[in-house]
């Protein structure tokens, strides 16, 4: 059977205008012409996605993921090459597209549905099931400005899913909305897939990509870097991140002063059942983690500052701290030093990286930075956001309180997910 999505030699160039083109000024020639930059957002991409496959696209910000998605959805045309998609495409970026606050839910369903390619008759027939699915009930004849945001999103999603797409394109949009809604979305996507639809997912949420996608493409600077299983692509993604972070973590705002300190190994350590510390890539949420940094001083140093930054999968800073203000101690020329950082891993499940930097004690220059080391936090799947505050839930009763769930009392017991690397 022929591919559901077929890209051949696809490149997409964007023109960025430094100032908005104006008819009058360009006619009157106030300026020698509009200044512009040209950017290749996607370059030389060949891709086949089979019908029924679930395909993921990952990459750093600006790597061309959204552009690829708009190309697949036909929203924009390639500058070179060809894009073919078989069957009806429903971009989930289009959830609630064209919804107008003054119109009723029913009227909006017709507008949104026909934008997604349904005929009036098809919408007539599906209306009941859309209303059911969105759980908006009698609100369907109320202007959507009176909807809660949850109802609004549910109705939008219900229409998109009832467009019965052969190709469903999903993006970060699913990262918004409450947990229950996200779970519902993923359930529906699985159902659609089992009925033969192709799903393309563009996401920073590596966990979701890992769960949902059979094959994953890694883009970097618009070029395909790797295509393979989720694990392979994510591993390659970490290589890309490490290679680039050497520059970005150095952006501590400080000037880099090379050849004073060299950082050797950076290791993430976790304890096993017997209390032995091992190097690991997997950490149980809520347990103690040790960071071990080895370095060598090239010249004599009276003191230095060790800084660490924990980054989320999308490169956002989750936590940063350093020894600034507290003496680390002198290191002589040619001497090795080892810094240990212990912290409690209060993080939601996901992939993280820790980057280490050594600054001069006067915080005027950065002496060295190490490529980030990644680790995976397991065990707190229900937690979302940046930090895990380990909320202890209880129920207040007349005779006192009954604990519903207290994560800090269960954490600390290392699990079998620990492995040596």
């Amino acid at each position: 059977m022929s591919a559901a999505i077929e890209l051949r030699g696809v490149s997409k160039q964007f023109t960025k205008y430094v100032d908005t083109p104006m008819l009058l000024t360009s006619m009157l020639r106030f300026r020698p012409g509009t200044r512009r930059d040209r950017i290749w957002a996607v370059q030389d991409l060949d891709l086949d996605v089979a019908p029924g496959e679930s395909f993921g696209v990952i990459g750093r910000n600006g790597s061309g993921k959204s552009t690829l998605m708009t190309l697949m959805a036909g929203i924009t045309a390639p500058s070179r090459g060809s894009v073919r998609v078989r069957g009806r495409v429903a971009p989930l970026i289009a959830v609630g597209v064209g919804f107008h606050r003054e119109l009723t839910g029913r009227e909006n369903v017709y507008v949104n549905g026909s934008i997604l390619g349904l005929s009036r008759r098809q919408i007539d027939r599906r209306l009941e099931s859309i209303v059911d699915f969105a759980e908006v009930g009698s609100f369907i004849d109320t202007p959507v400005k009176f909807y809660s945001s949850g109802m609004f999103v549910r109705l939008g999603f219900a229409v998109a899913i009832h467009a019965e797409p052969e190709v469903l394109i999903v993006d970060e949009v699913l990262a918004v909305g409450d947990m229950a809604f996200q779970v519902k979305c993923y359930d529906r996507m699985k159902e659609l897939r089992s009925s033969g639809a192709t799903v393309v997912m563009v996401s920073h949420a590596l966990g979701a990509v890992r769960r949902m996608c059979e094959r994953v493409l890694l883009l970097d600077r618009g070029r395909p870097v790797a295509v393979g299983t989720a694990e392979e692509a994510i591993a390659a993604y970490h290589d890309v991140l490490s290679a680039s972070r050497e520059i970005t973590v150095g952006e501590s705002g400080l000037r880099h002063e090379p050849d004073v300190v060299k950082i050797g190994a950076v290791e993430v350590l976790a304890a096993d059942e017997r209390g032995c510390w091992w190097r690991t890539g997997h950490v149980e949420a809520g347990t103690q983690v040790r960071l071990r940094v080895e370095g060598t001083a090239v010249t004599d140093l009276d003191d230095l500052v060790v800084a660490l930054t924990v980054l989320g999968a999308d490169g956002s800073v989750v936590y940063a701290d350093s020894t600034a203000g507290h003496p680390f101690g002198a290191v002589g020329a040619g001497e090795c030093f080892t810094a240990l950082g212990s912290f409690c891993c209060r993080l939601p499940t996901g992939t993280y990286e820790v980057a280490v930097r050594v600054d001069r004690a006067d915080l005027r220059t950065t002496l060295a930075f190490a490529a980030p080391v990644s680790f995976f936090v397991t065990g707190r799947n229900t937690v979302a956001g940046l930090a895990d505050l380990e909320t202890a839930f209880a129920r207040e009763e007349s005779g006192g309180t009954a604990v519903v769930h207290d994560p800090s009392s269960t954490a600390g017991v290392a699990s079998g997910s620990l492995y040596l690397s």
Partner: protein
């Protein structure tokens, strides 16, 4: 149990969909080679989305008229009020000489002019204004300006209704001349569509088209025979009026009530020539850039 209900509804939807689709393989819904769409591709896309035009026009209409209190009343009152003010100002203050029935002359000309002005103002910015839609889903962008051409027909219908109702009151008996309204509306829509298609495409790139259009509309009205009959003019002003694509349209509207004052055949030919050139230009702009408009939004 509650969790199963959405599943069931989804399954019914799926099975009914299979019934609709039959055994034929899914069509190619995206088939792009390079960035230009071409007139044929655009025509196919418009055909495939033909229902969307009606639905978007209805939406626009509902949003504009139905929800606003006195919405329909405004649609009637505004053009009548505007025409009456002009009629009073120019007949009493500026002493414009017109053989007879100056208010009906103004009202019939304004009916055409207001449609043109409203559709052009809304249509020229329509693709940018609709960026919420067009940056997230594909449909031929040409639908957005066409929606403006279509929805404003409702306002035109209302003003023409007022015109027909009010003319006898103002002393103009209407007769067989009314048939001029048919070619009048047709040529009006063609000329308007031509301008709207060109302006909407240009506005995606040149963001000052919005201001250019509103400034142009302000001056344009004075070289269109809506306030004074063209017979009174000479020199460059007369040349401008004769070259004006709207003269033919407005004169067809005049012909339906108080009678035309210039050679209809010549003026209408000028209008049609403009319409043809602009429509060709507009359609080729849209077919060239249809799939790259979204890049600039």
């Amino acid at each position: 149990m509650g969790r199963l209900r959405p599943l069931r509804t989804l399954m019914t939807a799926l099975t009914s969909e299979l019934g609709e689709r039959g055994a034929s393989p899914p069509p190619l819904s995206v088939d792009l080679h390079g960035s230009a769409t071409g007139p044929g591709g655009l025509a196919r896309a418009v055909w495939a989305h033909r229902e969307l035009l009606g639905i978007l026009a209805r939406k626009e209409f509902h949003v504009r008229y139905r929800r606003a209190t006195f919405g329909v009343l405004w649609a009637v009152a505004l053009p009548v009020l505007q025409s009456l003010v002009l009629a009073v100002v120019f007949s009493k203050v500026a002493h414009i000489r017109h053989a007879s029935h100056y208010p009906v002359f103004v009202l019939s000309g304004m009916a055409a002019w207001l449609y043109f002005a409203m559709a052009l103002a809304g249509g020229s910015t329509s693709i940018v204004d609709g960026s919420d839609l067009s940056s997230r889903v594909y449909f031929p962008r040409i639908l957005l300006p066409l929606v403006q051409v279509a929805t404003n027909l409702y306002g035109l219908l209302v003003t023409v209704g007022v015109l027909v109702a009010l003319s006898p009151v103002l002393g103009v008996g209407l007769g067989s001349g009314l048939v001029y309204l048919v070619p009048g509306v047709v040529v009006l829509v063609l000329v308007t569509a031509g301008f709207v298609l060109v302006a909407s495409a240009l506005h995606v790139y040149f963001r000052d088209i919005r201001y250019v259009v509103s400034a142009a509309l302000m001056m344009w009205m004075y070289v269109t025979p809506v306030i004074y009959p063209p017979a009174d003019t000479h020199g460059p002003l007369r040349a401008a009026i004769l070259a004006n694509p709207l003269t033919g349209v407005v004169e067809l509207f005049h012909a339906s009530t108080v009678g035309a004052t210039v050679s209809l055949a010549a003026a209408v030919s000028v209008s049609l020539a403009w319409a043809a050139v602009l429509l060709v230009a507009g359609v080729s702009l849209h077919s060239r850039f249809d799939r790259v408009f979204a890049d600039l939004l």
